[in-house]
Symmetry: C2
Subunit: 271 residues, 2 copies
């Protein structure tokens, strides 16, 4: 492609929102890959989880979150929640002029590239599975794929509560993985931002021949490509700043969030 | 993502097909980016151009071309023709087990990443524009885009005939570009494999602030990512081989094709 003339670094922050702390796994990957960018993260913890809400509800909440970030003057919004991406991304894109990136298409694309047998599993919340967003994205890239989507209503709350190594979490993971193993998929998309926290357990359950796709990683790559192609990256070499807002209890966000961000969280504003 | 165990280099060639010589611009980018891979190119020159044929016709021809490549034992097929990708890619993917990559989605993705004003132009053949393939691919990635697609029936035949610098070609290009300039697009997809040959002219007509997306380049990048993710690349360091087949006159293919490949074409088999 051609770089358009008049390139000016864009110093505005990138907005990231999620129904709670899960999207911090996406922010983590962005901080690792784009250390010179500023980020503003909004966790809609007052309304967590989105994954078991009605579609219209998720849309309304996603619109409110996007509007808050736009008022903060961001240059790009990452919808770092699979349920919100699935339920509301096209509507958000049609409404706002700020560019929006979801987590579904980047994960779907990586899975299509990776699968050899063209049999792909998706682990996600009920809302994400019922929306068919992954199924549609995958089939838009390869109409001949076999896709097996499994909803795990218990897994995200268990991980959220910190029960990452518990028997109960392993049991819930085993139940989700069962149908995917039976279907002989060779690639599994972690279609909920909480799931990367139990990657070692899932790897053990799925076996070494199954490729795990972390949508958070793929989305961070996508954000990096967008900044380059649009010419809206911040200056290289600087160290970016990141800030947090929560709609619920800031102190709880701070404490629970650090496990997801894998970095300390200092101040959290309320919004 | 996780690399699955048991990685073995896959020495099979990559198949590339097009309605004629246009797809050689895609092969060119693949040869530049993946010099260690072997390629087999099939130009269905007996049925050129696909761009003004009926949909059912294009599908039938694309199936025959894909079958010929599969019989030659390829590991991946690049549908290096915008008209065939638009008309037949989902059907090809649903029918054959060999993975297939088209040129539409890679170009669409790059354009969505590049546009700042979210106003994208597409220049293509009549068949491609009428299929809505680019419009659908673009809107699946960003539902809020404004897309302006212009069909140029004359441009591909003029470029094919070698009239790259003629007044007639400039006039045809100017006619195609006119509505895109009026629509104030900031990004234009070259949605026909012939158009990269008149990139300098298009750049002059569109002006320096418009990003030109070459689907051939984007498709070659996509092929490279697929090989890595599936773990089916050939051994690095070797120099790959490339072979040609044409359904029409091999000598004509050889002579006309060199301009598109930007490399000499030696033997051409008939198929």
């Amino acid at each position: 492609m051609t770089e358009p003339d008049g390139y000016i670094a864009d110093r505005r922050a990138i907005g990231v929102f999620d129904s709670g702390v899960g999207g911090l796994t996406v922010l983590h990957e962005c901080l690792v890959n784009l250390p010179h960018e500023d980020f503003v993260y909004l966790g809609d913890t007052a309304h967590f989880p989105y994954g078991s809400r009605r579609l219209a509800d998720v849309r309304r909440l996603a619109f409110a979150a996007a509007e808050s970030l736009i008022q903060l003057g961001v240059k790009l919004i990452v919808v770092a929640c699979n349920s919100a991406s699935s339920a509301a991304l096209p509507q958000l894109q049609s409404t706002f002029s700020t560019p929006m990136v979801g987590v579904v298409m980047p994960g779907a694309r990586a899975a299509v590239q990776a699968t050899r047998e063209r049999r792909i599993g998706v682990m996600a919340t009920e809302a994400t599975v019922l929306s068919n967003a992954y199924q549609n994205a995958l089939h838009s890239l390869d109409a001949g794929l076999e896709v097996f989507a499994v909803a795990s209503p218990r897994l995200a709350p268990l991980i959220q509560e910190g029960d990452v190594y518990s028997d109960e979490t392993e049991q819930a993971a085993r139940e989700a993985v069962g149908p995917l193993k039976a279907a002989e998929v060779d690639t599994v998309i972690l279609g909920c931002t909480h799931y990367p926290l139990i990657t070692p357990m899932l790897r053990r359950l799925l076996g070494p021949r199954v490729a795990l796709i972390n949508s958070a990683e793929e989305t961070a790559r996508e954000v990096g490509e967008i900044l380059v192609r649009k010419g809206i990256g911040n200056e290289e070499g600087r160290e970016g700043d990141y800030r947090f807002f929560a709609s619920g209890d800031p102190e709880e966000f701070r404490q629970v969030g650090a496990r997801f961000l894998q970095l300390p969280i200092r101040e959290v504003g309320q919004i």
